[in-house]
Symmetry: C2
Subunit: 244 residues, 2 copies
């Protein structure tokens, strides 16, 4: 269990990580980078369906997603659930837990995934010494607030077609930012999970996707999606695809 014996492939090497630019501040020196790497203690693997954390669990660490796909959700006691986000490689999750030293939502792997653990106390300590890291941490949290404003706008004022268009365009952008196709991709979540994110029933999600297909905006077959008319989708809700 001593760190000295951690297997090489389980050690973290941020400096060589392809996600570096998504997940880290860009302007660290080599020495600063090494200090950060020492902090990122371990990598963990999760199978599809595994919980990364559960609501109510004690908070110790943030997590950087290295590979895979997660959803985060809050549950209402009567069983209703709201998906608060779908997270992919390079994104940091767990920030909601800082406020009460306790996780306030569940994080579930939607496919086999790996995460880097960032012990928060040590992250705070290091960010006191590295202003660039401190600023980066603040920006990540702020970005999450902005993202949620966008979802509030979506949930509060958009129609089903607009919500789905925004959702697909957002996924497209994020896949593109990671070097994948912006037009052809696999959904990792069910219609139900999409509905729980967008405030719609699964039947409405299904119908709306079918409708998009009928009018030639997309091709969809189960989880396989191809965007055929990006402009057409964008026109559904002004131009701003914004970060969802």
């Amino acid at each position: 269990m001593s760190k000295a014996f951690t297997l090489p492939q389980l050690r973290v090497a941020c400096s060589g990580c392809s996600l570096r630019e998504l997940c880290l501040p860009v302007d660290l020196t080599d020495e600063e980078m090494r200090r950060l790497e020492r902090l990122v203690s371990e990598k963990h693997a999760y199978r599809r369906g595994d919980y990364l954390y559960r609501s109510g669990a004690r908070f110790d660490s943030l997590y950087a997603i290295r590979t895979g796909f997660f959803k985060t959700q809050v549950l209402h006691e009567d069983g209703r659930e709201q998906v608060t986000g779908f997270q992919m490689a390079g994104e940091i999750i767990g920030m909601d837990a800082i406020s009460n030293d306790m996780h306030t939502c569940d994080a579930v792997a939607l496919e086999d995934s790996e995460v880097c653990e960032l012990p928060f106390n040590r992250l705070e300590a290091l960010s006191r010494e590295l202003p660039a890291l401190q600023r980066h941490l603040h920006k990540i949290m702020s970005r999450e607030i902005v993202r949620e404003h966008g979802i509030m706008l979506l949930l509060g004022s958009m129609r089903a077609e607009e919500r789905l268009a925004a959702f697909l365009l957002n996924l497209s952008q994020r896949f593109a930012a990671r070097g994948y196709s912006a037009t052809v991709f696999q959904l990792r979540m069910t219609r139900q999970e999409i509905g729980n994110y967008l405030g719609l029933k699964l039947e409405t999600v299904s119908r709306t996707l079918s409708h998009f297909q009928e009018v030639g905006l997309i091709s969809v077959r189960n989880k396989a999606v191809e965007i055929l008319d990006m402009k057409g989708l964008q026109s559904f809700f002004g131009v701003a695809a914004g970060p969802l």
Copy 2:
């Protein structure tokens, strides 16, 4: 303009501020408190309808509300607007702007109000030296993320009655936390603004409030509200009133 000539009543004295416990970390020493007070450079007054900041404006400072009431909103280019929050004394606003050094929403005074300006660069610098302040800043941002999760749940899965009940109970709690009545208060916002917050049309807000009155849950006349049956309101959406 020199700080030396700032009038005494415009200088900030956090240590004597009645909102201290809402807005500041609790465990600062006197010396640390003085350093923080020096940072909180100025107090500004706003009239009802004034903008504290606008979307797109450059970001320099967070603001602590000392007296009064604000709303924050994001605008969609087609004119739709989503109110992202109603903020009252002791709350900190502007954190969405950190991510891009630019405000991403408007903040508008709903009544005559005063705010304390917190220059963010200096706040970051000081929080590198005062771990308690650093932790507090992180908690405030995290709390905002949690609050927004709650609103996503509300917007994504609650019916109009549940949304209004949650809204009234949330206001009630926050007034109570500030020493005001939990049952009798004035709304500071219009039905339209409530609707833009809760994802409802103003007519639906009005009808739902009228209905609450008919069944004896509240008494409402224009902006004056009295909660007559707190338990009854709570039963609308489980028990969790949560921070909105």
